[in-house]
Amino acid sequence: MGMLRRHPALVPLMLLAPGLLWLVSFYLAPNIQMLASSFWSGTLETGFSFSLNNWTNYTDALSKYQEQYVRSIQYGFAATVLCFIIAFPLAYFIAFKAGRARNVLLFLVVAPFFTSYLLRTIGWRTILGDDSIILGPLKAIGLVDPSARFLDTPFAVIAGIAYNFVPFMILPIYVSLEKIDRRLLEAAQDLYASSWGAFRRITIPLALPGIFAGSLLTFIPAIGDFINAELLGNPGATMIGNVIQRQFLVVRDYPTAAALSFMLMVLILAGVTLYGRILGTDELTSKAI
């Protein structure tokens, strides 16, 4: 205690130390190790050796699994758009129309997180099954073509991913909508703006930081997901996550697997930076706050 009183600058350092140590050891170090492993050659049996010449791991992996990268980007993008379509009206309703029910509704939005992720996805298998509780009756009354299949299609995978991550879209959009000063909307009305005009010129621009955060929070886990493709999709149409987990846990080709994961991370970082540039979010965020 005495030492701390004499050197107050040490206080934040000591508060940070345990957590920082943990993140350096189990987040930073593993990622550096993964980068190093991607330049390995050899197998688990013979042992691995590091050489910068092994950059070919990257080109080999990319040419072999290009299809899965492209599919992951497509599915991730489609799921993010679907999330937005579901999330925005719901967030808008909770922020502007729900009144006293607001907290209950917000709780219902996060409620899915309190049940197992795997079971929720398996729940969709039950719901989308060929003769399920929902589809069976719809097919019987002719609303859905009896030969139509939903399970094992890209649609099922995208819908599953969107379902699993939609709360990450709803919450940030809700937060940004809730912060909007209602007087701005009243002022727009007083100045004879139509409700659509006020919505387009005030609500949407002020919600942009939330939309930005929400899209990232859904796109990042969506692009790396492999559970939905495995449980709801066609085994022939895998995502990059399926390949990475197979290479790591079944094939145990660590160099290829590490190169694949590292490229996924670079892809995401590049995407995030580009997206931020296009939307100009730095400026937007500072304006909104």
Binding site: F114, V166, Q245
Partner: protein, 269 residues
């Protein structure tokens, strides 16, 4: 757009209400399915088609010892990793919110990075580290991993809570002769306790449900989600649905009680 401009508020808002209702049903339907199928008496091994109603699965909750062990391991890992992550995450958040030091912005970004990294990369990179260092996979590596991903969530949650903290309360305590230790336990801690509780509930839930990172670093041990995953092909026993429903009901009740207590306290003031 001219049509949109003319939609009267009433129809627009009716439409919005229906849309919001449907979105909520979409969100809650799989939960309902999971709970419903805990009362199913499946024909054969797979529990995907509704057969007939039964309470049996709830009475035979502990029948499969592998399942019971998996649930026990999940609860143990969740408890230990929550305690560690909440403690070190709260300290980190206090440093970031309340002190001005040179690398504060960089620290903020660094803590956020694990949240912006896909789970599969977190899990895979940890596995390469453990393999390289020849650390055997199992319960210990899972605790290390779970604390890692939970710390960032705790810091983000606590930062939000701490930024509304009125520092003058601590100054007042110090002026009245309290030692820093007394000030922390009698003033600071009670005020930030709801935030700590919220972080802990979040961390516990995330740990209990984590599959991806766990799958990579579990070795031969089975947590509850790993057990489910390994049973997907052979058929998931309905007791799994019962356990999941139980977890759901317990967590939801805890959160509800917490919210009620906070409201009562706010009303008393």
């Amino acid at each position: 757009m001219s049509i949109l401009r003319k939609i009267p508020g009433a129809i627009g808002s009716r439409f919005l209400t229906i849309y919001a209702g449907l979105a909520l049903i979409y969100l809650l339907m799989p939960i309902f399915t999971v709970a419903l199928f805990s009362f199913n008496d499946p024909v054969g091994r797979s529990n995907y088609a509704w057969a007939s109603f039964t309470f049996d699965n709830w009475f035979t909750l502990f029948r499969d010892p592998t399942l019971v062990d998996a649930v026990g391991l999940s609860l143990r890992i969740a408890l230990i990793s929550t305690v560690i992550a909440t403690a070190i995450g709260t300290l980190m958040a206090m440093a970031i919110v309340r002190y001005d030091f040179r690398f504060r912005k960089a620290m903020d970004l660094f803590v956020f990075l694990p949240l912006a990294t896909p789970e599969i990369v977190l899990g895979a990179s940890l596995l390469t580290l453990f393999v390289t260092l020849r650390i055997p996979l199992g319960e210990i590596t899972l605790i290390l991993a779970h604390v890692m991903f939970n710390v960032s969530y705790v810091v983000v949650t606590m930062k939000a809570r701490l930024s509304g903290f009125d520092m003058r309360l601590e100054e007042a305590a110090a002026d009245l002769g309290a030692t820093p230790w007394q000030t922390f336990w009698r003033v600071t801690f009670p005020i930030i306790l709801p935030g700590i509780a919220a972080s802990a509930v979040l961390a516990f839930g995330l740990s209990l449900d984590d599959f991806v990172i766990t799958r990579f670093n579990a070795g031969q041990v089975q947590t509850f989600p790993v057990y489910i995953y390994l049973k997907v092909q052979k058929g998931i026993p309905p007791q799994v649905n019962a356990f999941a429903t139980l977890f759901f009901v317990v967590t939801v009740s805890l959160v509800a009680i917490g919210a009620l207590m906070q409201r009562r306290r706010a009303n008393l003031k």
